[in-house]
Every structure is written in structure tokens, then in C-alpha cells.
């Protein structure tokens, strides 16, 4: 496709011929309001917000249905366009309840943003003249619909019809009584259902989990990689440390990566944050007694030096850096390093889109380090050191040590380690793409690398 030059607000831009004008505007951060357009869902043309003035056209045109051609001249902020946008925005808002103070979307709501950017008019309608509608409809087990806040952009409908092809949602009724609804006999409960909450540009669709939990402007968004399966979807971990409280994750959102997950994640991954902060191992335990870090290292060291046949289990969710450190460590102490992968496999979980059959984030690293995925031994294990592998309880050994993120370990020596959200590292997904997760939550617990490097000092 050949490149053409387009003139936007008296500046020249290059673009692929016949590409969508709105994509060009978004790419270059040229302010253009829109509700219905979405890169993954395409243009629908219903919101009429993305009006621009095109030289030679009598009327304003919508940028989401304009294909660029050479020499095209576009105005995005002329007086005419500003007034058209303002008037259409006013229409979007006349039946909106303006209940921002109790709306979860406040702070990341396109209606609010556009009102501040393009509106700023005085209201012309009486509250009692507004069309009222239901404000709490559970579309499924995780998504709540407020019909009064809806702008009928139909992104949610198009997501279920074009992306998941499950078709749970539709528009019912006409005119200003038109509203989103589930199709009779259906619930919005597909494995990707909660993406509609992100897609909704306003507060019409909210997540049951996140409703009223936190104001979005208090949240810090940390880029990370989902550890739900080996696809490695890019995510934001949204968290906040309230005064006198612990840093807490309030939600996980998809982070755009066209190579991996596009704009979406599955609900399993989205809700996996709960497990990251429930039932967590915080202390270091020796035979159920809390011990200090130093004592724990000494105890570990003595267990290693007193054992001959040592087996190390490593979890396929750990970061590459952990696996490298563990691999070195096992060579140093002459241990057998294994990662049985059978326990991660679940073909009822995987699908042909984002969910893979292996529910672990770094299987590729296990393969790269040539760590055995099958383990059987006739010999009695003297010492079993487990780095958070879920199958620990299936092995018997004379002595056992477990580095664990969660409570419930049966090992004699239990060493708390942080979950992936609590330190940084890299993982390799099943398409062999290495990806970096940033530390989101602060914790006092030592990482595996810290344990192992401090252990080597003790051993000296």
C-alpha cells in the first residue's frame, strides 16, 4: 500500500493510502472524541462524535468512516467542528443521569473527558425531563449494566457478536428508549465477558468485583504479565496503598499488545489478583515456629550439608531470573532439578484464542534450561527443596524445605517468597516472546535470588 500525505490542521502527516482517518488522528494524539470506534471492533458510525471538516465536503464527516487519500485536507478543531461536537455531546448527555459522584467510571469516563475538552456548556434540560431507566441489571455473574449511563455505542454488543461470537448482547427498544440487553435466555457469562467493562467508554458497564471498591484516580497502574497461563497476556495491575493499610490490588486490566493479547484478557486472568493477596505466607517457619531470616538460612544450610540425595522442584511460574539462580544453585549443591509439568496441563481451560492449555507463565524457560518435566526415583530423597511447585505434596522425602508464596505448606522449613506482582522479572510465553513484569506491590519478603545469594554467604 502506498504512502500518501494528508494535511491535518495545517500540518502534514504521512499515512497509508485508504487507511482510516481516525486511526491516524489517534496515532498522532490529535484530539478527536469518539465512543463507538474501537481499534479491535472497527467502525460502526453510530456515535457521530468524531466529526471532522474535510476540504471539498459540504458537511462534517465522521473520521471513523473516512479513508485517507493523497492531498486530503482536514480540520479537526475549526469553529464549525467544535460547535457540531458540542451539540452532539449535549445530545449524548441529555438523558444521562450525571451521577458521577457515585459512578465507578468517574475519572476514566469519556463523557467526562469530552465534556471538559469539547463541551463546557450550561445544561439546557431539566432533570425531571430525562428519560429514566434501570440502573442495576446483572448481565451475568460479573458485569452490571446501568442503562441510564449508556451511550448506545454498542461496543459491548459488537464484542460479543464479532470477537467472542457468543452473541449474548443486543439492543432492544427504539429511539431514546433503546437500551442494551442480554438476548432472552442468555447470560453474559463467557470466559471473556468482563472485557466489555473495559470497552464501555462510560459507566454503563461496571465490574461486580470493582464496583465501589476504589476511586480510579487513587490507583497506580503497573505494567505486568498475567501468570494465569502460558499465553502471557499483557496487563496492568491497578493497586493502591490506602493510609495505614497494606498495598492492595483492586483490579487487573488488559494492556494492549498486538503481538500477544490485543486489547483483551480472559476473566480467569482478570480475577487472578484475588489469589495474589489471599492466604499468603508472610513468615519464615521452622517446624511451625517463626524464625528469623538469618536462622532460616542457617537451618537451610545445615539441611543441605547433611543431605546426600537432594531434589529441587521448581515452579514454571517463576521469573527467568529465579530459574537461572535456582539452576546454578542446584548445580552447586549437586541436586537433581525437576519441574513436573503435568499438573499445569488442563485442556478444558485452553481455547483457540487467549487461553492456553498450560496454566503456568514460564513453561518456555523450563524447556530452555532443559529442566526435566518428568520425575521418578526409586531412591529415597534425603532433602526435597521446593520452589513453589504445586505438586510438592506428592513427593516424599526425609527432610523438606519449601519456598512458598501461600500458606499451607507441610515442609519442615517454610520460607516465604513474594508473588510475581511483588517483584520484577521476565517470563517467556508460549510464542517464545520474552516479557517483563514490573514490581507492583511492595513487600518485606525476600526474593528467591536474595535467599540464594545470602545463603552462599552463610555457606562460606
Amino acid at each position: 500500500m502506498s504512502l500518501v500525505t494528508v494535511n491535518i490542521d495545517d500540518k502534514s502527516y504521512e499515512a497509508k493510502e485508504n487507511s482510516l482517518l481516525i486511526d491516524l488522528l489517534i496515532l498522532h494524539d490529535i484530539k478527536v472524541p469518539y465512543f463507538c470506534y474501537h481499534e479491535s471492533l472497527g467502525a460502526d458510525g453510530n456515535c457521530r462524535m468524531c466529526m471532522v471538516e474535510i476540504e471539498g465536503k459540504k458537511r462534517p464527516q465522521i473520521a471513523c468512516d473516512t479513508f485517507v487519500s493523497d492531498g486530503m485536507s482536514i480540520q479537526t478543531a475549526s469553529e464549525k467542528i467544535s460547535s457540531v461536537r458540542k451539540r452532539i455531546l449535549e445530545l449524548e448527555l441529555i438523558n444521562h443521569p450525571v451521577d458521577c459522584p457515585i459512578c465507578d467510571q468517574a475519572g476514566e469516563c469519556k463523557l467526562q473527558d469530552y465534556y471538559m475538552d469539547f463541551g463546557l456548556y450550561d445544561s439546557n434540560i431539566d432533570m425531571k425531563e430525562k428519560v429514566h431507566n434501570k440502573k442495576h441489571i446483572a448481565l451475568g455473574s460479573s458485569v452490571i449494566l446501568d442503562r441510564e449511563r449508556c451511550v448506545l455505542c454498542t461496543r459491548c454488543v459488537r464484542f460479543t457478536s464479532n470477537i467472542t461470537k457468543s452473541g449474548e448482547l443486543g439492543v432492544i427498544n427504539r429511539g431514546d428508549k433503546a437500551c442494551i440487553s442480554t438476548v432472552p435466555g442468555m447470560k453474559l457469562d463467557n470466559p471473556y465477558a468482563m472485557n466489555v467493562v473495559d470497552l464501555c467508554p462510560v459507566g454503563a458497564l461496571t465490574s461486580k468485583e470493582f464496583r465501589f471498591a476504589q476511586r480510579v484516580w487513587f490507583l497506580k497502574s503497573t505494567p505486568s504479565i498475567c501468570h494465569g497461563c502460558s499465553t502471557g497476556c499483557n496487563i496492568f495491575i491497578d493497586h493502591n496503598q490506602e493510609k495505614y493499610k497494606e498495598d492492595k490490588i483492586y483490579r487487573i486490566r488488559p494492556r494492549k499488545n498486538r503481538e500477544v493479547n490485543g486489547d483483551f484478557i480472559c476473566d480467569y486472568g482478570r480475577l487472578s489478583y484475588k489469589n495474589l493477596q489471599e492466604n499468603r505466607q508472610q513468615e519464615l517457619l521452622n517446624k511451625s515456629n517463626v524464625i528469623s531470616y538469618e536462622d532460616a538460612l542457617l537451618e537451610l544450610n545445615s539441611k543441605i550439608s547433611g543431605s546426600k540425595n537432594i531434589v529441587i522442584l521448581v515452579d514454571a511460574n517463576l521469573y527467568n531470573e529465579d530459574i537461572a539462580a535456582i539452576s546454578n544453585f542446584s548445580q552447586k549443591i549437586g541436586a537433581k532439578l525437576v519441574c513436573p509439568t503435568e499438573c499445569y496441563f488442563d485442556d478444558s481451560f485452553g481455547d483457540d484464542w487467549l487461553k492456553s492449555d498450560y496454566k503456568c507463565a514460564n513453561l518456555q524457560a523450563i524447556k530452555n534450561y532443559k529442566i526435566d518435566s518428568l520425575f521418578s526415583s526409586d531412591q529415597q530423597i534425603d532433602l526435597l527443596i521446593n520452589f513453589n511447585h504445586p505438586s510438592f505434596s506428592k513427593f516424599s522425602s526425609k527432610q523438606s524445605v519449601e519456598f512458598s508464596t501461600h500458606k499451607g505448606s507441610s515442609a519442615e522449613l517454610v520460607l516465604a517468597i513474594p508473588a510475581y506482582s511483588e517483584y520484577s522479572g521476565t517470563t517467556i510465553n508460549d510464542a517464545n516472546i520474552e516479557q517483563y513484569s514490573q514490581k507492583a506491590i511492595t513487600t518485606d519478603v525476600a526474593t528467591i535470588s536474595e535467599y540464594l545469594s545470602d545463603l552462599s554467604k552463610v555457606a562460606l
Binding site: 445530545l91 439492543v171 427504539r174 429511539g175 431514546d176
Partner: protein
């Protein structure tokens, strides 16, 4: 008073008893174009239709031949004909006359059209409320199948043609051709975003022609008698006839076919028997509710053709005239229409979805005596926002209606305003 000569192309059998049955229709000349039809090629028929300057009779008045020529003939994909009988425009009731009084003429037209565009399936999308008329049409189709005029091998000419009646669910917007096809595909009747180039319509991604019932019913005459015979009627740019209709304050409301170009007042006096109760004329909505209203003075200048009506700032539309006498309350009349549009807006795009409701609310306030002077300006401003910013022409039509009523009869609206309100 001027006496008009009857000029009938599609309504010639309306007065005959049992004209909806095959035997009577055939006796009076229906299906007589078929012999000539099969001696012509697709290209020849389309050329004849183009040459006749037959214009679409559903309201737009676009040249039908040009539309037919957009059909990609000889493609691998099947092509379809969708006959638009979703007649829901207030003041318009002509198509139902055809399907109930001369359904075989429509079937004949469908045969001619399908043969021209190489289509083997035609759908007739009938307005949901037209149950009774639809039943008559269906029994005519059944008769045609039985006679071998429809089906596997029509008229033993080796051509297959199926005609299927599809009843809508009662949405005005499904008369918009792309919404009609969406509905026919089983989806919600939402108009489609218009293509950037001139192209045919698409039914399940197959090339499709959508034409009004009356347009299709005019085709047999042209096929049989040629383009020149058709052009003998009407004016040079609006040739032929139209099933004009009258409702409202006239003595004889109804559907009366007439050629294009005659004076509107002559039509009303001749066919409608003048204004009811000898009252004075106040205004006429010329072509279905969605055309701009004409004042009595403008009606005096109006001729029933596309060009004159356009010059008057209105349009001929469907030719269904709504006549209002001097006692008509324009504020109530507009409110009546706006209730209709409020109810029928499909709700797809913002200006129409929210605008039609808002203007209706303000009009109600005006009638309730709780509106202020600035509210009239507000209505006009909303109407401006609805014009030219939407996917289909529904909102621009509403805008024209509002504009016509308020600018031409502003003092009546102002008399409802309460300036003492704070």
C-alpha cells in the same frame, strides 16, 4: 374548475371487481409484457428502463434505471430483488392499493425486474401491519405458482423465479433500504453506513436491488410499450405517473393516479373534491409526513413533479398529500408528527436517538404552557444538529418537518410561549 383526464398505468384495474385474482387480472392484460420480456436481454431491458427515465416511487425519486445498472450482472454470486412494501410514511397508502387490488401487476413487474437483473429470488418486504393486504398478495403469488408463472420454469421459458413475502415487525425505519435488508437478514432494522462509491445494495453480501412496489409495478408497462410510451406521460424530467394520495381535510380522500406535472390545487379539486366543508386551505404536507410543509400560497404555485417541489424547498416524496384547512392547529399538528418520529427513531445514532425525544418533550412543554420563548430557538437548534449528521435520512427529514412548521407558522408557536415563567 379544470377537468383532468385520467392517466392510469398502475391503477388501471383498481376499479374492476376481483381484480386481485389471476383470471380477472389476466383478462385485463396482466402478464402481457412477458412475451416481449423474454425476447430481450438483461442489458436491453435495463437500457429501456434507463431510457424511460422511470424514477423510484418510494419517496427519493432517483432514476430507477441507474440503480438497476449498478447490479453486477454475470457475477458468480446470486443476485436478489427486494421489493419495498414497508409503507409506513404517514399520509402514504398507495402500495397497499397495488398489493390488494392488482397484486398480479406487481408479480409481473417482479418477473420483468428479476429477469433484467438475473435474479432468481425476490422478497417482498411488507409492513407488519399490512396483514390483510399481505394475505391477498400471498394468495395471488400462490395462484401464480400454480399457473407456472412463478417457480422452477416460469412460462416454460426455462427461467427459475421464487417470490417470498416477508412481513416486517412494524418498524418505520425498515422502509429505509439498508435497514430493510438488515431486517430481512434477521437482524435489528438499523440503517447501514452509506458506501463511499455508488454501488448496489447487499443482502447477505450478495448484490441486491431494492425498489418500491409502485416502481416495480410500473415496469411491465414500459417493457411492453417501450420507453417512449412511458415518456408520453408527465414532464420531460419527471415522466410517467404516480399514485398520488390525499388525506386530511378534503372531501374525497384516497389514492388517485395522475401524471406528473399537474397543478397540486387542480389535483385536489378534481380528485379530492376540494377542501372539506368549504373551508379555506391552510397548508399541505406534499409527499408523506417527512417532506417540508407548504403554505396555501406555496400550494398555489406547486406542481406535482420533482423539480417544482424541489424549487419550493420541499420535495414530492411519496406523493401522499396531507391537507390541512384553516382551522388546523399547527402546534398540535407538529406535536402529532414529532410523537411519531420519537416513537420510530431506531436509536442507532446519537442526534436522532436523543434529538427526536428532546424536541417532542419541548413541544409537550409548549402545549402544556410551560415553555419559554428560548425553547422555540432550542427546538430549531436541535433540529439543526439532527440535519446532516446521521447515518440515514430519518433525522434530516425530521429536521425539515420542524423547520417547515416553525418558520412558516412561527406566530402560532409563539402564542403558546409563556414569557412570565422564571
Amino acid at each position: 374548475m379544470i377537468i383532468l383526464e385520467d392517466k392510469k398505468i398502475v391503477s388501471s384495474k383498481f376499479h374492476i371487481e376481483n381484480s386481485h385474482t389471476l383470471s380477472v387480472a389476466k383478462e385485463h392484460g396482466t402478464y402481457s409484457s412477458i412475451e416481449r420480456l423474454f425476447t430481450l436481454s438483461s442489458e436491453e431491458i435495463i437500457a429501456i428502463i434507463k431510457e424511460s427515465h422511470l424514477r423510484g416511487k418510494g419517496g427519493g425519486g432517483a432514476p430507477a434505471g441507474n440503480k438497476w445498472a449498478l447490479m453486477p450482472l454475470g457475477e458468480l454470486k446470486p443476485s436478489f430483488l427486494a421489493v419495498n412494501c414497508d409503507e409506513s410514511e404517514p399520509g402514504t397508502f398507495k402500495d397497499r392499493e397495488i398489493i390488494s387490488k392488482d397484486p398480479h401487476l406487481l408479480i409481473e413487474g417482479i418477473i420483468c425486474t428479476c429477469f433484467a437483473i438475473k435474479s432468481h429470488t425476490a422478497y417482498i418486504y411488507v409492513r407488519g401491519e399490512y396483514k390483510e393486504f399481505s394475505n391477498i398478495l400471498q394468495s395471488a403469488i400462490d395462484e401464480a405458482y400454480e399457473a407456472g408463472y412463478l417457480g422452477e420454469n416460469i412460462f416454460n421459458k426455462g427461467y427459475k423465479l421464487d417470490v417470498i413475502v416477508h412481513r416486517g415487525a412494524g418498524a418505520y425505519i425498515c422502509g429505509e433500504k439498508s435497514a430493510l435488508l438488515e431486517s430481512l437478514e434477521g437482524k435489528r432494522g438499523h440503517p447501514r453506513v452509506k458506501p463511499h462509491q455508488q454501488e448496489c445494495e447487499w443482502y447477505f453480501d450478495n448484490p441486491t436491488l431494492v425498489n418500491n412496489v409502485e416502481t416495480i409495478a410500473s415496469v411491465p408497462f414500459i417493457v411492453k410499450n417501450g420507453a417512449d410510451a412511458y415518456k408520453e406521460f408527465g414532464t420531460s424530467s419527471s415522466p410517467g405517473t404516480l399514485l398520488f394520495a390525499m388525506s386530511g381535510h378534503v372531501n374525497k380522500p384516497g389514492v388517485y393516479e395522475s401524471e406528473f406535472g399537474i397543478c397540486m390545487m387542480d389535483y385536489i379539486n378534481h380528485y379530492g373534491g376540494g377542501i372539506k366543508n368549504g373551508k379555506k386551505l391552510k397548508a399541505i404536507i406534499p409527499g408523506g409526513a417527512s417532506t417540508k410543509i407548504l403554505t396555501a400560497d406555496e400550494v398555489g404555485l406547486a406542481k406535482l413533479d420533482y423539480e417544482t417541489m424541489k424549487a419550493l424547498g420541499s420535495s414530492l416524496g411519496t406523493g401522499g398529500m396531507i391537507v390541512m384547512d384553516e382551522d388546523t392547529n399547527m402546534v398540535e399538528a407538529l406535536k402529532n408528527l414529532l410523537e411519531f418520529y420519537h416513537h420510530e427513531s431506531c436509536g442507532q445514532c446519537t442526534p436522532c436517538r436523543e434529538g427526536t425525544g428532546w424536541v417532542d418533550t419541548i413541544m409537550q412543554n409548549l402545549l402544556d404552557g410551560v415553555a419559554r420563548g428560548e425553547d422555540i430557538e432550542k427546538i430549531l437548534e436541535i433540529s439543526k444538529t439532527m440535519n446532516g449528521q446521521t447515518i440515514c435520512v430519518f433525522a434530516p427529514a425530521v429536521s425539515d418537518v420542524i423547520d417547515g412548521f416553525i418558520t412558516k407558522f412561527r406566530s402560532e408557536f409563539e402564542s403558546y410561549v409563556r414569557e412570565d415563567l422564571t
